[in-house]
Amino acid sequence: MKRVWRFISRLHDLLASHRSERDFNQEVELHLSLLIEKFMGDGMSPEDAQDAARRQFGNVTSLSEIHGEMRSFGGVHAFFRDLRHGARVLRKTPAWTAVAVLTLTVGIGANIAIFSVIQAVLLKPLPYPDPVRLVVPCTIFQRLNTDRGNDSFADILDWKAERDLFESVAALIPGSTDLTDGGEPDRVRALFVDDAYFQVMGAPPLLGRFFTAAENLPSAPPVVVLGRNLWMRRYGGDPGVIARRIEVRGAPATIVGVAQADSTWPSEGEIFQPLGTGGQPDADMLRRDNHEYLALARLARGVSIEQAQARLTVIGARIAERESTRKGTNWKLHSLAAYVIGPTLRQTLIVLFGAVVLVLLIACVNVANLLLARGAAREREVSIRAALGAGRGRIATQFLAESVLLSVAGGAAGIVAGFWGLKALILRAPSDIPRLEQAHVDVRVLAFSVGLCLVAALIAGVAPAWQAARVAPLQSFHEAGRSVSAGFRANRVRSLLVVTELALALVVLIGAGLLIHSVARIAKVEPGIAAHNVLTMGLSLPDSRYARGPQVADGFERVLSAVRRVPGVIAASATSALPLGGGGFYLGRVFLRDGQPEPPASADTAAAWSVVQPGYFATVGIPILQGRPFTNEDGANSTPVIIVSQSMARAMFPDGRVLGRRMRSWRDENVYREIVGVVGDVRHYGLTEDATNTVYVPHTQNAWRSLTLVVRTGPDPATVLNRVRDAIWTVDRKLPVADVRTLEQVIDRNMARSRFSMFLLILFGGAAVVLAAIGIYGMIAYAVAQRTREIGIRMALGADRRTVVAMVARNTAALAGAGIVCGVGAAVALTRLLQSMLYEVSATDAASFGGAVLLLLALGSAAACVPAWRASRIDPVSTLRYE
């Protein structure tokens, strides 16, 4: 208690130290004047009285000093003094200081940028009420190797009944819809949700209300809820929109509410429509193999996700046993946060963070090394101070003060660098990283950077401070007085640091090398299409104007023939889904050959069902391997036909006779279709995904409303786009044209993440290598400078230049060798973390390791060249006079 009191009192004095001093002077002055008055009252002359008063009072100056010290924290004041001294020392060597500060700026700035991203993407809780209770139940399909499959409605109904597990469970389907009232038709992202959805999300509406159970009935009059963004964008934030009737897909609907910003998921939903799943679901909806829905659930209070998972696993296993169509399936509960982020993104961010931490470590080691070199040069100064009675602690703190100054300067510059780095990073990043745009340098990031500075100061300052404190008062007089080679002990510490630096840099380099390899592999993947100059856009014909199949098919045919007439257009067609993850719908269906008995008597073959217009294969460049493409003769009333992909043909007809045979999608369409062609394989879901079995059917025989137009153009697609759009609108003024992209952009997106991680790792690897090169240069240059005299003597004794260079080279090689051995060892242990980010590249890929080692060796040798050359130029005569 007493100590606390004294501490507070001193703290107060410290903050008000100039005032305390003034007070004290006033007191002394008063005391002296009262004494003088007293003595004069006793009859002394003013002069005598003054002398007597001073005698009686004692030495004012020394008293004042004593008080000053008593009032201060000795340590703090001394440290401020050290800081001032350190600042003076640093100012005297601006180039050296700039290198050290810049080094730390790079390290700290990179950390701030990446940590801001991690903070926004991984650490910050989702914006919904009580977000930890939000879970996404998914279906595990062992056959597809996924635990993120969609759910069947029957399953969702079962979960809704698990009242003690879930507070509420919602079914939803993300999609899009068109707003067609007035102005340009507008394609907006829609969420089709049941009435439980907003209850699960938990936030109240901004305006109006959400859906009732009655509105979720299939027969209910159509209503919509607007997302805040759409409300602001299209309706100007007008509170009067409630109860207004708008036109959705050509049909009237009533706005009943507006949802708050950040209160819905998936957050890109702009408009909400009832899913229409209320009432008594029909038999088709209750089929357990009808995996059409996304589910979102809120755990009951006090139920952990593990508990809920355990229960679901048991129930799911029972269903898998009972239903033949559910073999190899179960359920997986993802926390919403984990579902949003996905497994690879998390891994990527952790790897990037690891890389920047390594870069910072290298920066710290570099600064430590620079300080050590300087410290060694100042051994004489230190030893004199020690001889004059400076304690080890004092000497150590003085050196620590320098590293604190450096890291504070580096940290301040690093915050600025991190701020801009983050901006650049967000601009360059692939657009599909959730919440990335929210990343900014906030209080938490700042606190993190302050912590970083302290850690950096400690790491960089400890070795030099320790070294300085160990200087014996007299030893360095001997060493520095007439030394041959000084400070071998310090050199050992520094060598260790350089080796560390090289090893760390090598780890980052190897990581970058692996990613470069992986991206190169992805770029080499044959997409199975000819993507150059192909424009794609989404088009959806509303049932209000195109009521039935024939009208829809006719509508698309009219649109396509209008587009084909546009100058610059070489070919145009349409498909239900773009390859390579370009979006759209593939239906997962299972097939039987003509005459093949139904399962379980035989095994069916699964394939993705895709609907295309004539000319599709030619337009996107999928090769016809056998038979013919679809033509205008394949009409609604002609023979049902189908075209299969090569892999599908092999899977279903091992004997190779394919054309003219018949097959059916036995659980769904159940119509025998004649195979008229075999086409090349395409990767549907992405470049790095395996090609899947695919079947194509003509649009005339399976008229879907939503297709993606594909338009091959002669000139740059951008120059043709407006004319294509106008051509579409000559057919139907009210058709929204959505998601305009080129096929090349679609392919590009496949590589966006890998390429971005690669870009960042190359950046960090580059920084690491440059820092390591500076480190090795500093080390060798210093060693040469220190051994100038020794080298001079050797040369005087007959050593030639080559021997001297060889000596320096040996020195460098020893350092580099040790660094490479440690670095490769560490990389073998660490690159395993990268494996999930790599495509067809092993985490211990020899080429990447070798390349990184060679690069490091090259840079290391380059860095050692200058000092080696300088050593060989040493003039023996002048060095013998050197000191």
């Binding site: 009192s9 008063l30 005391h31 009262l34 004692g58 004012v60 020394s62």
Partner: protein
């Protein structure tokens, strides 16, 4: 702990190394003076000690301020600005509750130690060194 620190504090690095005993006792005297006379400024305390000691103790009056600062840092006395006899700004010190408690315990200790020392010094010498 209290006792030890009371004497030890006069041995801090800030102490004027003339007479430890005098300083240790100086703190006690200052505390007692403030307890007996109420708020006083430094000059008044010096006068009071001079008056009580009847010139037996020659006091370097500046050390009174060192003692005052020490006591204040312990929280045993408090200070406030006021007007002195000749109408000048002066800092007046007064004893705090904690100071009184400390004074009581120190007074008891002092009595004991003084007794021991008196008895020790009263022992008959057994031949010179």
């Amino acid at each position: 702990m209290n006792r030890a620190s009371f004497y030890a504090m006069s041995k801090g690095r800030a102490a004027v190394k003339r007479s430890d005993v005098l300083q240790g006792t100086l703190d006690l005297m200052v505390l007692k003076t403030l307890d007996a006379l109420g708020p006083l400024h430094g000059y008044g305390i010096a006068r009071r000690i001079e008056q009580v000691s009847k010139d037996v103790l020659r006091l370097n009056e500046g050390t009174v301020y060192t003692s005052l600062l020490r006591l204040q840092q312990q929280g045993w006395i408090a200070s406030a600005w006021g007007l002195s006899e000749n109408n000048r700004r002066a800092k007046f010190y007064s004893i705090t509750g904690r100071g009184r408690k400390q004074l009581a315990s120190e007074t008891a200790d002092w009595g004991r130690i003084a007794g021991v020392i008196t008895r020790l010094l009263a022992l008959a010498p057994r031949g010179g060194e």
